[in-house]
């Protein structure tokens, strides 16, 4: 039981005291300081790459638990507002540390993926997520493999949902990606490959055809 919840929510990177706090928050949210919990989660997701991509899950569970137990919204509200602060400061964050920046993007997208409102994605996050992806599609970002990697990861995970929410923005985004792929000279070869794959991925309806799958993901033996 112990290890499985650690595994499930990827909270191994927290210190033990915080892990305990999180577990209590999952079972008995009314008994903990949810503002503090949300703060801890956001802080950690900006530091820890793995957690930033998976934190949505634990957040979703806490939100549900709180709604069920006390009919409250404290955790979600604090989480979103803190996230908004980080989002506003994203350009500084990017200048300061690429790693933190990609963590931030992963986290926002993961929250978008998991925290649904009556089974619908949160509309309030659609433009912010697009903002982040557009930033990653700028030429100064495309030349960093780390940022391209982050970009394609998000599109793999939530591209189809984002497109449903706003087709026009997705079209614009992919125009940038296509232009970058074709025209930008300072892309790394991995970066180029990643872009090509995502272009095909979307063209195939957010899935990879079998041939494409073989092309990108299997070993070539000679």
């Amino acid at each position: 039981m112990e290890t499985s919840s650690k595994e499930e929510y990827k909270i191994q990177s927290f210190d033990l005291e915080t892990q305990q706090l999180l577990k209590t928050a999952l079972k008995d949210p009314g008994s903990v300081d949810l503002e503090k919990v949300s703060s801890l989660i956001v802080d950690q997701s900006l530091k820890d790459q793995i957690f930033s991509r998976e934190a949505g899950r634990i957040c979703y569970t806490i939100v549900q638990a709180e709604a069920k137990q006390t009919n409250g919204n404290v955790f979600r509200r604090n989480l979103l507002n803190r996230l908004q602060q980080e989002f506003k400061a994203r350009e500084e964050t990017r200048k300061r540390s690429t790693q933190e920046w990609v963590c931030l993007v992963s986290f926002i997208c993961n929250i978008f993926d998991y925290l649904k409102v009556n089974n619908m994605p949160m509309m309030a996050l659609v433009h912010p997520v697009y903002d982040c992806l557009f930033r990653l599609a700028q030429s100064d970002a495309l030349k960093n493999e780390e940022e391209v990697d982050c970009l394609v990861l998000q599109l793999h995970r939530i591209g189809d949902q984002l497109e449903k929410m706003n087709m026009q923005l997705m079209d614009e985004l992919f125009n940038l990606l296509r232009d970058g792929f074709l025209l930008q000279e300072d892309l790394s070869s991995m970066g180029r490959l990643l872009l090509l794959e995502i272009l095909e991925f979307r063209a195939g309806g957010w899935t990879l055809s079998e041939t494409a799958q073989k092309y990108y993901y299997s070993e070539v033996t000679d």
């Binding site: 006390t70 409250g72 919204n73 509200r77 604090n78 908004q84 989002f87 433009h127 557009f134």
Partner: protein, 271 residues
């Protein structure tokens, strides 16, 4: 960056808006503060907390202020508003289905009882015709908020625990107004008021010193009495709810204590 920058993220959101944390006269009855956190049932509001009227967030626009300020809300608020909208839509679907079911009760029973297409009284009064429900989203959301204020009280919690639905008697027990029925604004607001007043009967007993309370009660009792149609004992301990003319046949022992409204005045004065 291209055309998607038509939306702006302006500066003035305040995640710690003071008005969310300030105490108000009615704070005591609320199960939950405006910032969402649960209140412990008898916590005393700190004197240092500002009242709702001071220190408004910058996005608050009044005629006296400098003019329109950016109204971009914080994400927390936006998502809550989204949630309320989608809840209201979901409620509407459910309600429509319920009306349809009411319109078509089990056929077999009707035929065997020999009655022709009879509609019992509940249809004409209770279930509006399919076209006649309130569908304006702004109105529904406003009404839902008012209902939520009422449900977010200790009194409501105690009421639903004490009186399960099948035991409730119309007139005696408060019933949540139906937000889908067509009513004028005044009519609806009045129904909400009456409902909330009725709910006060289930307010939790108070703990604060009773001397001050009694003084306040007498004053207000005099003001309120002449409006009432209800028989009230002159005992200051029992209270009578305000009613604008409708006579309420309430059993006296359905009131367990002083209305919280009256007690709040002294709270505000103390803090």
């Amino acid at each position: 960056m291209s055309a998607h920058q038509k939306y702006k993220y302006e500066n003035d959101y305040k995640p710690d808006e003071n008005r969310n944390k300030g105490a108000s006269r009615w704070s005591h009855c609320r199960k939950r503060g405006a910032d969402g956190s649960l209140r412990k049932s008898h916590s005393v509001e700190e004197p240092g907390k500002c009242s709702q009227s001071s220190r408004r967030p910058e996005s608050f626009t009044t005629p006296e202020s400098e003019g329109p300020v950016s109204r971009v809300k914080n994400w927390g608020d936006e998502v809550e508003a989204e949630e309320m909208r989608s809840n209201v839509r979901r409620d509407m679907h459910r309600y429509r289905r319920r009306i349809l079911e009411a319109d078509f009760p089990q056929r077999e029973r009707k035929i065997s009882s020999g009655s022709s297409d009879s509609r019992d009284s509940r249809d004409s009064k209770e279930s509006p015709a399919k076209g006649d429900i309130e569908t304006d989203e702004t109105t529904l959301i406003r009404r839902q908020k008012q209902i939520n204020y009422g449900k977010n009280t200790l009194a409501y919690d105690r009421y639903i625990k004490e009186v399960p639905k099948h035991v409730r008697q119309p007139g005696v027990h408060p019933k949540t107004p139906n937000k889908f029925k067509k009513y004028s604004r005044r009519s609806w607001d009045q129904q909400i008021k009456l409902w909330r007043v009725k709910l006060h009967a289930w307010d939790p007993p108070a703990e604060e010193g009773s001397d001050l309370q009694q003084i306040e009660e007498i004053d207000l009792g005099e003001i309120m009495d002449f409006e009432l149609d209800v028989e009230c004992s002159s005992n200051t301990e029992s209270h009578c709810p305000t009613s604008s003319g409708g006579s309420l046949s309430l059993a006296e022992d359905s009131f367990t204590g002083t209305p919280k409204k009256m007690m709040k005045i002294e709270d505000a004065e103390m803090s």
